[in-house]
Amino acid sequence: MKQITQTGATKEEAIALALQKLGVSRKQVEIEVLQEAKKGFLGFGARPAEVRVTIIEEVTEEKEKGQEKLAEDGTPEEVKASIEPQSEQSNDEEVQEEEQPDPIESAVQYLTNIAKAMDIHDLKIETEKEGKTILFKLESEKAALIIGKRGANLNALQQLTQLVVNKTAKSYVTVRLDVENYRERRQLALEQLAERMADKAIRTGKKVALEPMPSYERKIIHNALANRLDVETYSEGVEPNRHLVIEPVK
């Protein structure tokens, strides 16, 4: 069963892009909306829509109806038309990339070699390409060693892999590493932390400074608290010691 996750400015755009990538029609897939698009305020708190599209082998009548219903309330024809030429371009790019020494392959080799030198011999790597982002999903018995304290090793490896990939890749790509869903768990943990710290700031009436975090982890917290009107969030300090501050609004 093939499945991809796709983001887009709107739900419809994300679905149309995903169908293009998979090369199937809407009736052959099941669509799950992971996240509706949000416009946000002054570009803050804006989120793209995210959909998960799964190819189903047999189309049952029920699902077909469901998909048609989705099509009805969703996609105006112009949206599809405006997206198609773009997607064809990106297909062409992919074909050209395959002729060159594969950057993804070299990155997998790089990670495997490092793991071996760190005494990890059971590393399994799956890759997913999504636009300009390549996601490497790692699996190993020694996941803790790969992740490190608060993801320090994982982030270091991610950075190094990104450099290796961009040394061979033709266009600039972003590399994301994940070990056994660590990123997802971390996001949940950070969102909970954000709520807790915001409550603390309100309770004490003082600002609460968090420990230094990389930019995308700060972003998770900014986003988590964007809807709360009783606190303000901003970042202080210079990388790599930049940290987030939560301040109660008086």
Binding site: K149, N153, A156, L157, P240
Partner: protein, 76 residues
């Protein structure tokens, strides 16, 4: 450990054949001296020492079981 540092650094640089790691050990600490081609020095240090920091993070965690303090120095 020397092998780990070489494995990390070689694919990052333009002159992998010039990469050399020397181990300098005394009673209280182990220093790994990383030699690269002068042209590659910027690449292994990175903007604001970012790459050097990433290399150190991984080396320190891999050598965390030893009692001695470990260092990675970049030289040319």
């Amino acid at each position: 450990m020397q092998k780990l540092i070489e494995t990390i650094v070689k694919p990052l640089v333009d002159y992998p054949e010039d990469v050399r790691v020397e181990k300098d050990e005394n009673a209280s600490r182990i220093v790994y001296k990383l030699f690269v081609n002068p042209e590659d020095r910027g690449k292994v240090i990175g903007k604001q020492g970012r790459v050097a920091k990433a290399i150190r993070t991984i080396v320190y965690s891999a050598s965390g079981h030893q009692k001695k303090k470990t260092y990675v120095d970049i030289l040319d």
